[in-house]
């Protein structure tokens, strides 16, 4: 187990190394540079050159890369060109929002998707089955940002049930500790702040959950249908076990294996969807900031954020693989 984790983490190093080279070259090839973003089209060549020198962009690319790596080893990702703050600080301030949103979406998707997929499989061919299969097909085909707009228009602008933007009501003056607003609220016992942050998460969470929900429903349904035909379910029935035990211990447990795999793979898509959802709901996560950083050519931010996201993605999949080996004893992590 430990060896497996260590090996997977070691494998991460060449991946990150390659990714950083790729990104480095790629970003430097983007037309324009931070000087254009700072000065606009009017700056004199001298001013441009001064800024480039200041940022160390006039040096050969190899030296720039070497400096980047040297800092990276000390876990220093440099300073943002546009906000003049440490990239790590920016990240720690914004990423919690995205994580909260992604986790909310995942909780909604799993919480609804697994029971719905299970029920659809048990009532195969009935209306609930048709409804959930049809619904999941449409769910996959709706553009996330459009769904986000519709939800916002209906539930927040027309019905006024949910807030239409932001992460929390700023007038609450909530204390910040981790920047996970819900967590902060719970830690400081500011219950209203926690509830308000949670309230702000529901609509964007629902929009972001649509695609994972659809996928989880489909996979759960297919997987349960397959497991229901397995011999060991028949054995369990032959033992006279109650329906509840058969369902929980024998059907669901085995049906969860493919679902667990798919959840790991969904993470990448969730982060993409989060960028769009955050934009619609003016939700301050990494989404809008990243989009801005691209147009501002804020190299340190782009490099840092993308690298950290890649690490997070790999770690999530590592955790999924580990939990997989916990549910399925046949899979031995080596």
């Amino acid at each position: 187990m430990i060896r497996f984790i260590v090996r997977r983490l070691l494998q991460l190093i060449p991946t990150l190394f390659g990714l950083s080279i790729l990104l480095f070259i790629w970003l430097r090839r983007l037309p324009g540079g931070p000087e254009t973003a700072i000065l606009g089209e009017r700056g004199t060549p001298e001013m441009r050159a001064a800024i480039r020198r200041n940022l160390g962009l006039d040096e050969p690319i190899l030296i720039q890369y070497g400096r980047f790596v040297r800092r990276l080893i000390r876990l220093d990702l440099g300073t943002s060109i546009s906000t003049k703050r440490e990239v790590t600080t920016e990240f720690l301030q914004r990423f919690p929002g995205t994580v909260e949103l992604t986790v909310t979406a995942l909780v909604i998707a799993i919480g609804i998707g697994i029971p719905l997929g299970y029920l659809a499989a048990r009532r195969r061919g009935r209306w609930l089955d048709h409804l959930s299969v049809g619904g999941s097909l449409i769910g996959i085909c709706i553009p996330v940002f459009f769904l986000a707009y519709i939800l916002k228009a209906i539930f927040s602008e027309n019905l006024g049930l949910f807030p239409s933007s932001g992460r929390q009501d700023p007038t609450l003056g909530a204390t910040r500790i981790t920047n996970f607003f819900v967590l902060d609220g719970l830690m400081t016992r500011e219950w209203d702040a926690a509830a308000d942050a949670l309230w702000h998460l529901i609509l964007p969470g629902m929009a972001l959950a649509s695609i994972p929900l659809a996928i989880i429903v489909r996979i759960t349904r297919a997987s349960v249908l397959e497991v229901l035909n397995e011999d060991f379910v028949r054995t369990a029935e032959a033992k006279g076990l109650t329906e509840n035990v058969v369902r929980r211990r024998h059907v669901l447990r085995n049906a969860m294996l493919p679902v667990a795999t798919s959840i790991g793979l969904l993470t990448g898509g969730l982060l993409s969807g989060a960028v769009l959802t955050e934009t619609v709901f003016a939700f301050s996560g990494i989404g809008a900031f990243l989009a801005d950083s691209i147009s501002q050519r804020d190299y340190p931010v782009l490099m840092g954020f993308i690298m950290i996201i890649a690490v997070v993605y790999v770690l999530v999949n590592l955790i999924v693989d580990l939990s997989y080996s916990l549910i399925d004893p046949r899979v031995r992590v080596r």
Partner: protein, 322 residues
């Protein structure tokens, strides 16, 4: 001479027979799949949607009543955005005007062609690049040896790298590199599906080369390169074709997302549904239908591709075939 037990010999005989029949099996696989596809109502619905879509996309633009960039509504003073005036459907303008006074129906029809173009080209880019990487990796893994394994591992590391990036981020950075245009969207969306195709083709090639009939062909003394070309590749293609159909759906949706982030085609003469949807977001308060039309068109088209792709997957699934 080695002694082969009766049971084993029997197995080899059976496999050899299978391999000999493989040619005809290959044909009947597709015929069988097609027959089952025709019986599946979901496939029929998907095929009908796609036929209409393709017909409109190919021939529609020749018959549109107005030019998609003609801002006649503003010229004639019918559309006054400042006063919240964007007229809806009428006898002359079936779907009304957009915020710049252009005929929405004409734009939708021309948009169908652009959307189809984006979807197809993006998928082809992803398919070509992905199949090349995956095919080489799969063949290398199949050949084995130190070199084969090295090539396979290197290519797969590269693919892992692409996968470690959220797809939209990848697309956005490509789009930023190339500047907003239709080509940008195609390339960016195509790149996102490269790792998917690469992994799929590699995986199914490895699975195929470990299969019984390849063992049989090998035991009959067929050359490795010939096995790869005549047996492994054709049989690995089925999942790739299914994936391509499904990717067409996601490509159209992702293109819309890129347009929404302002990276779509700015050329108003060649509207694309994604751009239309993105533009319409601003006017939701005045005329939500402007967003509804392209959104519904995108959803239905994506649904068509998904239905057909899923039905094809089912039809080609060996587990369900009997």
């Amino acid at each position: 001479m080695t002694i082969i037990s009766g049971k084993k010999r029997e197995k080899i005989d059976r496999l050899a027979e299978l391999a000999a029949r493989d040619e005809e099996r290959g044909v009947s696989l597709w015929q069988d799949a097609f027959r089952r596809l025709r019986r599946n109502p979901a496939a029929i619905v998907g095929a009908v949607i796609l036929t209409i879509f393709v017909l409109v996309a190919v021939f529609g633009p020749f018959f549109v009543p107005y030019s998609p960039k003609d801002t006649m509504g503003i010229r004639e003073g019918v559309v006054r955005v400042g006063q919240g005036l964007i007229p809806g459907h009428s006898a002359e303008h079936w779907l009304g005007y957009d915020h710049q006074g252009r005929d929405v129906f004409s734009r939708m029809v021309v948009g169908a062609r652009q959307t189809l173009l984006v979807g197809v080209v993006a998928t082809l880019i992803g398919l070509a690049a992905g199949a090349m990487i995956g095919g080489v990796a799969g063949a290398a893994a199949g050949l084995g040896g130190r070199w084969g394994r090295w090539v396979d591992a290197t290519l797969m590391r590269f693919i892992d790298m692409l996968l470690a990036l959220p797809s939209l981020l990848l697309a956005v950075s490509i789009a930023a590199l190339l500047g907003p245009s239709l080509t940008t969207v195609m390339i960016a969306v195509g790149m996102v599906s490269v790792p998917v195709f690469a992994r799929l083709l590699r995986g199914s090639m490895i699975a195929q080369s470990n299969s019984d009939y390849v063992l049989a062909a090998t035991s009959l003394g067929v050359r490795k390169s010939k096995i790869a070309l005549t047996h492994v590749l054709p049989n690995s293609l089925a999942p790739v074709i299914v994936q391509a159909t499904l990717t067409l759906a996601t490509a159209i949706i992702e293109a819309a997302a890129l347009s929404y982030l302002g990276l779509g085609n700015p050329d108003s003469a060649l509207p694309e549904w994604g751009v239309m949807l993105a533009d319409a977001q601003q006017w939701l308060g005045i005329r939500p239908a402007l967003a509804i039309y392209p959104a519904v068109a995108i959803i239905i088209t994506a649904l068509g591709f998904t239905l057909l792709g899923e039905a094809m997957r089912e039809a080609l699934d060996p587990k369900l075939r009997k």
